[in-house]
């Protein structure tokens, strides 16, 4: 996967020793920051086994930056949820009326 061209056709630079930073792949052994940041979503979805969770937690305790990444992930989720609540792209009133009328007039199936 390393050296695979990006859509822009430029090969992506990955630090040596860290090929294939796939978020879905559990991390075995010691967890470094570069591993942790790919596991945040799995961690929050509780899609990590107890052994990996323990190692991720251990890393979190020792690393302020990664703890901040976890917080920021939570903030991103909260902000996206705000977008849903804001519902700025609600249905326009004319369309709503038309659909409500169609609903009212739909004959019941016997």
């Amino acid at each position: 996967m390393s050296g695979r061209p990006t859509p822009a056709g430029r090969p992506e630079r990955r630090p040596l020793g860290h090929p294939g930073l796939v978020p879905d792949r559990p991390r075995r052994g010691k967890v470094d920051c570069i591993d942790f940041v790919e596991r945040v979503t799995a961690y929050l979805d509780e899609a990590v086994d107890p052994d990996e969770r323990a190692r991720l937690d251990q890393h979190l305790e020792a690393c302020v930056d990664c703890a901040r990444v976890l917080d920021q992930w939570r903030t991103v989720i909260a902000l996206a949820g705000r977008l849903g609540e804001a519902a700025v792209d609600t249905i326009d009133p004319a369309t709503r009326d038309r659909l409500q009328a169609a609903f009212r007039e739909e004959p019941p199936t016997p």
Binding site: M1, R4, P5, T6, P7, E12, R13, R14, P15, L16, G17, H18, L21, V22, P23, D24, D32, C33, I34, D35, V37, E38, V40, T41, A42, D45, A47, C63, V64, D65, R68, V69, D71, Q72, W73, T75, V76, I77, A78, L79, A80, G81, R82, L83, G84, A86, A87, D89, T90, I91, T95, R96, L99, Q100, A102, F103, R104, E106, P108, T109
Partner: protein, 214 residues
Amino acid sequence: MDFTDERQLVAALRRRDDAAFAWLLERHDASLRRVATTFVRTGSSADEVVQETWLAVIAGIDRFEERSTVKTWIFRILMNLARTRGVRESRTVPFGDLGPDPDDDRPSFAPERFRGRLSLAPGHWRVGAGPAPWDEQPDEHLAAAETLVTVRQAIAALPDRQRAVISLRDVDGWTAAEVCDLLDLSEGNQRVLLHRARARVRQALEDRHQEAAR
């Protein structure tokens, strides 16, 4: 009347209870439009697909067999209509067994932000390259309308599949299982797409913070 109770909802829709249908529109219309835009080329096509979906819901509610939730049923109708139209507009359908988009395996943070293998602490943040602290006051942050604009724009700019997954999971609050089922994704792929999407939104917020700080 509790429309979150499926039985009451279906019964009310079959009675042609205006309030029940208004509740459905309120609850799902915006979200249907978000999903539709991942399959068709233009906003007006998306609007049309969403309207067709509602008309199909109206025509089909009496035959709805309650083997799935009303929500899943409505979104399946949308997916079928959107796929058909997407094919007609010769836009590639971005879901199913087509394999990952090359864009989907970009790392969450630029690799340059971490130390290389030959350093003292390989794989750790380089000095000063950690995440910028843009969320020190979460409440204040969440309240800023500007912040939401940044999030909205970042989501709009995502590749199709990432946009669909983050829209359903984080904007609309669907579960992972519901998203996998609707979009025909494996749990693992769903998570990769979601993670990439969140990473880009995070980066957009960090960029905005740093611009503001300059």
